[in-house]
């Protein structure tokens, strides 16, 4: 194995950054795709995959992508919640791959949420 140079430390860190951000739960943006039975039937996996592709393309390492269960509003699936840390989470409904691209570009990357696809601002209280 080659000897490490000081610059290599940064390279390794960048390479593993995405893994670590997820592990630390400390990204700038958190995207949650709701993968309940209803969501999966409505194509939530495709939505998740296209989010992942967008993340790959953008080369961003500060975005946490995760999944959760049914959000309770089965008729409006596929759904996803986008939370720019520090701001209220936004729930998007009736997603398509085209909508994902727009949401990713405008909300995730630039921080301005896309009103026309959004269901609500904020999330339920957890008891």
């Amino acid at each position: 194995m080659a000897k490490l140079k000081i610059e290599d430390l940064e390279k390794i860190t960048e390479e593993f950054k995405r893994k670590m951000t997820l592990r630390e739960g400390a990204g700038r943006v958190k995207i949650t795709v709701h993968l309940g039975t209803c969501g999966i039937a409505a194509g939530a996996r495709k939505i998740m995959n296209s989010f992942m592709e967008e993340i790959e393309k953008s080369k961003a390492t500060d975005i946490i992508m995760t999944t959760s269960g049914c959000a309770g509003l089965c008729s409006r699936e596929p759904m996803a919640t986008v939370e720019v840390i520090g701001n209220a989470p936004i729930k998007y409904v009736d997603l398509t791959i085209d909508k994902v691209k727009i949401i990713f570009d405008k909300h995730v990357m630039k921080g301005a949420f896309v009103q026309e696809y959004a269901l609500s601002v904020g999330s339920e209280k957890i008891q």
Partner: protein, 610 residues
Amino acid sequence: MKPYTIQLMICAGTGCVSNQSFEIKEVLEKEIKKHNLQNEAMVVTTGCNGFCGAGPIMVVQPDGIFYQYLKVTDIPYLVEEHLVKGRPVKKFMYVPPKEEIPIPRMNKIPFFSGQTLVALRNRGMIDPEFIEDYIARGGYRALAKVLTTMSPDEVLKEIKKSGLRGRGGGGFPTGVKWETCKKIPGDRKFVICNADEGDPGAFMDRSIIEGDPHSVIEGMIIGAYAIENVREGYIYVRMEYPLAIKRFNIAVQQAKDNGLLGDNIFDTNFCFDIKVRRGAGAFVCGESTALMASIMGNPGEPRAKYIHTVEKGLYDCPTCLNNVETWANIPQIVLKGADWFTGIGTGDVTHDPWGGSKGTKVFSLAGKVNNTGLVEVPMGITLREIVFNVGGGIRDGKRFKAVQTGGPSGGFIPESLVDLPVDYDELTKVGSMMGSGGMVVLDENNCMVDMAKFFLRFTQDESCGKCVPCREGTKRMYDILYRITKGEGKEEDLDLLEELSNMIVESSLCALGGSAPNPVLTSLKYFREEYLTHVRDKKCPAKVCRELLTFSIDPEKCLENGHGCGVCEKNCPDGAIYGEKKNVHFIDSMKCGKCGVCFDVCKFGAITVE
């Protein structure tokens, strides 16, 4: 890197491994494959999380969902519920004592939220067998910083300023030790990492090594650079820590492969290498001179320290020996600066390195608390916070009696001192010591004489036998304590114990003998009444010393509740119980061997013990 959406951090410290965490990992991976989730979910083995009593433990990131007491058979259900359906499973979560609602998130559990992590900062976050994980969490940056921007003197100055004191127990200022070693002339010097953690019930060092071995290695390299003329380092790990040895060896090899150990580190002219040595399990080999003798292949015996090891240590060369936790603190101090470090802890170390205790300390919390395990807390935190907040209070609602700190060389701290701030000097003032960080919590069912006897039995067994006070003195002290617990103690014994203790402390060759009487001295100081009850009344208030107990049968309970069932009679090995079936039974105290079997087998609570 594949963009995973979920990471399952399964604890692979010794505690969890012995409860099958590797098997759990295998099943997890199988189940994940079965549900075709292998591109989304990643399983990572981490070092010890510290909550060892509740192992095996798994944390699901990014949400930090904490699962405990997992079994291999639970995994298929857990994967289906949490990973496939996205519903975290409540029945595997932590529920605080006396409550019913679980706390799902790790960082909301008081055991974890009450801690400050410096030496354990990577715990549960990295796979200790991957150097990349360590680097990605900021590892080897401190080394890069010192090699490119700081002179050895500047590094030393920073460590001195930080007020860091030895975490192995003595609390000697690390910077002062380095400086002394640096000043002694010599072109061959050594640094050693003392990982011969011998105190019963202590496992801080093991967990640091198992969870984050590179932090120790990085600290050692920085130390070698600061002291200068150090090209060789040794890590002395006890044989009883196979997993720690394995992970150290892997880490050293990785550091070598990546050029972080060896010649011309980071293309500078600084060269340094580390060898791992295994100890054969003698307690005394944690003592510096005995440890060095053992590395050199000689019997592990201490020598008189008219000349300190910083002057003449390993192979008669100046040697700087520090504990695992001390080394693990070094990279953080270098990266974040001495001022950050002095911001945590007690006292003022600007002029006097002994003036305070800075930073954090890792304790292994054991005994009668609800949450046992490994905790890292800032210096100066009170015992009350450790026992009742982090530790979750005393088990089964019993009364808190004392805390024993510092292992067999430490002392007992009674309930009246529970608001004592925990740092080196405060603990020494009350007769105990920081030691390596063992903390055993005792409740009303612990007998102090019996506890003192337990620790003395350990030290007299581990005494190497080289000097008379330690070899013979601790033996005699043990004999006296044994007599007291047998009911053959005399009142003069207490004075004799004190006299012997002081003599052993004064005249022993090394710190083993010098601190061995501490449990006796402190228990005599704070619990003299309990000793007196043993010798005068021949009774043990905590009902531990069996020879002093009297077993009898409550006739009412025996007849009314149990209808004279006779189970006690059948089970008594001494034939000391008499009675007709369906009638009251009796114990013949002359024949009674005080084994306690009758107490255990009686379902009606009719056996009374006094």
